[in-house]
Symmetry: C2
Subunit: 190 residues, 2 copies
């Protein structure tokens, strides 16, 4: 029950619900426990779930043509997300999703997610907010890659999301910041 209350709190930060509508939404989310290193979605699969991370950490990543792993998005509790491009289009995903820690998520199916968006205006508003944030996050990430140095990107992350720096391995953090692991180790030791 605590997980569902946490989810309600997060949703209410972005949209205002009437009466029982929020319960109707939250009832569609099902608890899942994911082991560290478990893969929730493979490249080529269709993302059929949207996640609320109640405890733990999951990420989306992809493999470049040179065979390098690039971490796109890190979700530490309390947080939401999925492989959004595949989820929206219901086409094969370009990204993987895996768990970096033992993680408890609440998952809602694609079908329920969009049915609720048709039925409940407040949920549609929440979805619109998510899309705005996802787009802006993506664009800010591109911005910081082209305008900030490795040091500046690392400092920005410490300022905006210190939990990530504390909990994610150097290898993954480096792939998220798009810097070399040696560079990251040097920055951390300073």
């Amino acid at each position: 029950m605590e997980a569902k209350n946490n989810l309600k709190q997060l949703i209410q930060m972005f949209s205002v619900f009437d009466g029982k509508d929020l319960d109707k939404v939250v009832d569609c989310f099902k608890t899942r426990l994911i082991k560290k290193n478990e893969i929730l979605l493979c490249e080529g699969d269709i993302a059929k779930e949207f996640y609320f991370i109640n405890s733990g950490c999951i990420r989306t990543y992809f493999i470049t043509k040179q065979g390098h792993e690039k971490t796109r998005y890190l979700m530490i509790e309390p947080s939401i997300g999925t492989a959004l491009t595949s989820f929206i289009s219901q086409k094969p995903s370009f990204e993987f999703i895996d768990a970096l820690e033992n993680t408890e998520v609440l998952a809602i199916s694609y079908k329920d997610f969009y049915r609720l968006a048709d039925e409940i205006q407040a949920w549609k508003n929440f979805y619109l907010k998510i899309m705005e944030m996802a787009y802006s996050f993506q664009n800010r990430k591109i911005e910081s890659l082209v305008t900030l140095s490795a040091t500046e990107r690392y400092k920005q992350l410490i300022k905006e999301n210190p939990k990530i720096v504390q909990r994610v391995s150097n290898k993954i953090l480096a792939s998220y910041l798009d810097i070399k692991q040696e560079t990251l180790s040097r920055l951390k030791s300073k």
Copy 2:
């Protein structure tokens, strides 16, 4: 009037409007003629307008810390767009917008855009579609940068949007595809 009819056609491809609602939306768009090379938005300004391109071509671009111009998005008629991150957040833009040809746009203000989204469900649905498409476009662009070669990216563009290849200069096309101008000239001559 023709421009407003073209705009209506485009909007109706993505959302279904009742009665006079679509007229109410389209009435908020004002005609603007933009000269080739005119800058509609500078880095640091706040994007206060959203555009329908009725004829011509505009683009968004940014300058990297090495001083290189990167073209993010090209809009050839009939098309829609703006510096979306700044438009959503009403914070200073990281991008410029300029015209690559003499261009006729219909522009709607930020204020009208969001007032209509509150008043007219079909316009909110249209906005949600735009956000989904913008996010997916952005992600597909990142994908193609990391998974496709220069040749493959060029071929993909010819297939999906041949007008861009015909109408945009090699310099700008190269910055859009993130390849060197020499490479692009070589690909084009093949």
